[in-house]
């Protein structure tokens, strides 16, 4: 373990650590542009220069701290006068052509070039030549292109092509005229393009939808978690005047590393949609939440009296927080209602339950750990569509040489070469077991593929199984666990990674005992045994396979209560509508596909965004007792209102739901 001295302070590092990383361990941030922990060091910008005062032959003098290994006995100075002067010159070089854009540039306030220029000590411009300029490209609706600001750190193409594996962004030209762009203008193809805005150290790539809507220091920036898939990637919500303006990736050393996908990054517009319902509705007419809840209570009571508590069904959601799922589960249990039904059908329910049952600390791998795998086996998993960031993690494993094998009926695509064994979903388990050697039944026509998979498994030491739950038979997650056990028995360190159908599918699994499925509820409605439906945060039409049948069933209901943040859909108008708060307003605990419970803090208090009230003008001078449009409430508190039971609050949940008793909210990350 090399021990070295940086700026008169000692630090011990693991072999292979670069000086720039060793310095970071001492909280010394050496200036850098092209170096990025995820993208590695390439030595292009030359700004991370330090003076190595003592070290092995040919490592002394001015050195690039990102390229040089920290070695035992080295003495390094980051503050050495020559090194500092060198860095100042490099920054001066980078600023030769930089446009005087700060006053109008969105990057201002979180611009690495601004930071390095000030801290590097470069000030007065003495270069008298002309600045080179470029024409920008329209790269689509999500990213703005401003090439004049470029300092040629190459981060964008390194991320886009090497890290993420998409090939429509490149570096063209030569010398000081190099240009980063597409072959021709057009939308960037990579579903991870938004990360360019995060990693670009200047304002070349900035977020387009939020352009000119606020400067960095205008925003309230809060840590949050994305709820668009089961991964639970960490985000930063930048909000202003009661709306989310943009989101950035938030570093997580375990879940998502440095990046997020575009779906998660841009998927917030719903929260400030102009037609987002902010008041409760009774029979289609606005009402106060209290009145609507009271009306709902009495109508539910009438139905219960006439037909029994089982005539009321509750459908919950895989995107509801644990508090919400728990509150409604509790309410259903206490009142004898059916549900909450969280899963589409028996297959989905059993598959997710199988995944939850299969959670095992010794096999569970995080996405960051998955990058170290030396073999990836995808069982009915389609990362790019189901959990995009998984595809990025798999690509890093592939770049390090891990073969990728996918057993899937669908023509899935991945941003790296992989072997695809196309088989019906029903056969995935059999084929997997045949390759493992735990089964003899396998279709003869793919004997070669199975052989190759077996070979690959034999040769591996850290195989990871990625098991989907979207199209696979219910038994597959358990087969995946058995596979991991088998691999472990043959001396390997296997990993297991599930893709689940929602951000809190794991939570739903915890509450799914004895609950019906959505398919069952629809059948019950059709048979007449269910006459009243409480639909909580679930867009049924999104996933139910037969729209007409669903419309018919909803039309049959005597009572439809909808709780959601979005406008209800379908022909059947809900009798009662209760507006729910979004995750930005209420926060909540979500358990991701790894079984990692993450608490999301609210980002701002709810209410109509100011931009929709003032039309861009100065905030109004009316003084009202409450925030306009602040009707929506967290869905779990609406459960309390609906049942009339003030005890339906999260704190009391652990008594009602033993599954939660081991969770201590304050200790969750």
């Amino acid at each position: 373990m090399p021990k070295l001295i940086i700026d008169n302070r000692e630090v011990v590092v693991s072999p292979g650590t670069k000086i720039i990383e060793a310095a970071a361990q001492l909280d010394i941030m050496i200036p850098r542009f092209c170096y990025h922990p995820a993208l590695g060091a390439v030595g292009a910008c030359r700004v991370c220069a330090v003076k190595v005062l003592e070290g092995p032959a040919r490592t002394t003098g001015i050195q690039m701290s990102c390229m040089l290994d920290a070695q035992d006995g080295m003495v390094v100075s980051t503050t050495d006068a020559e090194a500092a002067d060198f860095r100042r010159h490099i920054i001066e070089f980078l600023m030769l052509h930089h446009p005087h854009d700060c006053p109008v540039c969105d990057e201002g306030g979180h611009c690495l070039l601004q930071d390095m220029t000030i801290s590097g000590g470069h000030g007065i411009r003495r270069y008298k030549g002309k600045k080179r300029t470029h024409r920008d490209q329209d790269l689509g609706p999500l990213l703005q292109h401003e090439m004049n600001r470029c300092i040629q750190c190459y981060r964008c193409v390194r991320f886009y092509r090497e890290y993420a594996g998409y090939d429509d962004l490149g570096v063209m030209g030569i010398g000081s005229r190099v240009y980063y762009g597409r072959f021709e203008a057009g939308t960037l193809q990579s579903p991870f393009s938004g990360n360019l805005a995060d990693i670009c150290p200047t304002g070349v790539f900035t977020d387009k939808p939020s352009r000119y809507r606020g400067r960095r220091w205008d925003f309230e920036r809060t840590p949050s978690v994305c709820i668009h898939c089961s991964l639970g990637c960490h985000t930063v919500v930048c909000s202003r005047y009661r709306e989310v303006i943009r989101q950035e990736a938030r570093f997580s050393p375990t879940v998502n590393g440095y990046f997020i996908c575009d779906r998660g990054r841009q998927g917030f517009a719903y929260a400030s949609s102009k037609d987002r319902p902010r008041s409760a509705m009774v029979g289609g007419r606005p009402s106060s939440v209290a009145d609507a809840a009271s009306e709902a209570r009495s109508r539910i009571a009438r139905l219960q009296q006439a037909h029994g508590p089982g005539s009321i069904a509750c459908v919950g959601s895989l995107r509801s927080s644990l508090e919400t799922q728990g509150a409604w589960k509790s309410a259903c249990k206490a009142r004898g209602w059916q549900g909450p039904a969280f899963f589409q059908d028996d297959r989905e329910g059993a598959a997710v339950l199988g995944a939850a049952a299969g959670l095992d600390r010794s096999y569970a791998v995080s996405m960051v750990e998955m990058e170290q795998a030396d073999l990836i086996i995808l069982l009915g998993a389609d990362p790019v569509n189901e959990a995009p960031m998984t595809a990025l993690a798999l690509r890093q494993a592939a770049r390090a040489g891990a073969p990728i094998v996918a057993l899937d009926p669908r023509p899935i695509a991945l941003p790296m070469p992989f072997s695809h064994i196309p088989i019906p979903a029903s056969e995935i388990g059999t084929v997997f077991e045949a390759a493992l050697g735990t089964s003899e039944n396998a279709p003869a026509d793919i004997a070669d593929d199975i052989d190759q998979l077996r070979q690959a498994m034999d040769n591996s030491r850290r195989p990871v199984i990625v098991c989907g739950t979207d199209v696979v038979p219910a038994s597959l997650p358990a087969a995946a666990v058995a596979g991991a056990a088998r691999l472990e028995a043959s001396g390997k360190s296997p990993g297991l990674f599930y893709l689940l159908p929602g951000p809190n599918a794991m939570g739903a699994a915890l509450f799914a005992d004895k609950a019906p499925t959505i398919a069952q509820v629809v059948a019950d409605i059709e048979s007449g045994s269910v006459r009243g439906l409480v639909l909580v945060e679930n867009r049924l039409f999104h996933r139910y396979p037969d729209r007409q049948r669903l419309e018919k069933a909803l039309a049959m209901l005597e009572l439809l209560v909808v709780v959601d943040c979005l406008k209800p859909e379908g022909d059947r108008r809900p009798d009662i509508f209760l507006p729910a708060a979004t995750v930005f307003e209420s926060g909540g605990i979500f358990i991701n596909q790894e079984g990692r419970a993450q608490e999301i803090a609210p980002s701002f208090k709810g209410g109509t965004p100011l931009s929709q009230i003032t039309g861009g003008d100065h905030p109004p001078r009316e003084f009202t007792p409450g925030t306009p449009g602040a009707g929506p409430e967290p869905a779990w508190s609406l459960a309390a209102l609906l049942t009339g039971d003030a005890d339906e609050m999260p704190a009391a949940l652990s008594e009602r739901c033993p599954a939660l008793s081991t969770l201590s909210i304050s200790h969750l990350t």
């Binding site: 090939d167 429509d168 962004l169 490149g170 063209m172 030569i174 240009y179 597409r182 072959f183 021709e184």
Partner: protein, 176 residues
């Protein structure tokens, strides 16, 4: 001019290559020789032949001096402007050509015959001042010799063909 069979043999070469992309410069040069320059369509064609994306080809095409991404004349005149040619009259050669052809550096004559470009040391420092015309070296040059060479090219069969093509509307236009 590149014939179709030469392009076919290029395809065979690509198929036979263990790493097709090692032929990238050859493919671009072949398409350029056939079309006169490497157009946007040419880039896409090269990408298809090599199994690379268009921007990957563009990255190479825009790096190299002898891949032309804009239409050039039938005769591309490269005037060496490195230090020895510079000492021995390259500027005079350059100015004379610009006047004689009526174009500036980087431009092509309206009849599509001549393009003037600067080039760095072509390795004919013992025969300065030297120029290349379609990669053929001429030097040491006097103004008189230069005029004779240009006139000779102007009146050659090749030139008449080029003039006809310049009037032909099928000539591809670069679009950005």
């Amino acid at each position: 001019m590149q014939t179709e069979s030469q392009t076919e043999s290029l395809e065979k070469e690509i198929q036979a290559a263990e790493h097709p992309r090692e032929l990238a410069v050859d493919v671009m040069a072949a398409i350029q020789a056939r079309d006169g320059y490497l157009s946007d369509a040419g880039v896409a064609e090269a990408a298809g032949l090599l199994g690379m994306s268009p921007v990957e080809i563009e990255e190479l095409a825009t790096f190299y001096t002898f891949i032309y991404r804009e239409p050039v004349g039938r005769y591309v005149i490269h005037i060496c402007d490195s230090v020895v040619c510079w000492m021995e009259g390259a500027e005079t050669i350059g100015e004379h050509l610009m006047k004689a052809l009526g174009i500036r550096m980087g431009e092509t004559t309206p009849d599509g015959l001549f393009t003037l470009l600067p080039v760095c040391c072509i390795g004919y420092c013992d025969r300065v001042p030297a120029i290349l015309i379609n990669k053929k070296a001429y030097g040491p040059l006097t103004i008189g010799e230069l005029d004779r060479i240009i006139d000779g090219l102007r009146n050659s069969d090749d030139a008449n063909e080029a003039a006809a093509e310049a009037a032909n509307p099928k000539k591809q236009v670069l679009k950005r």
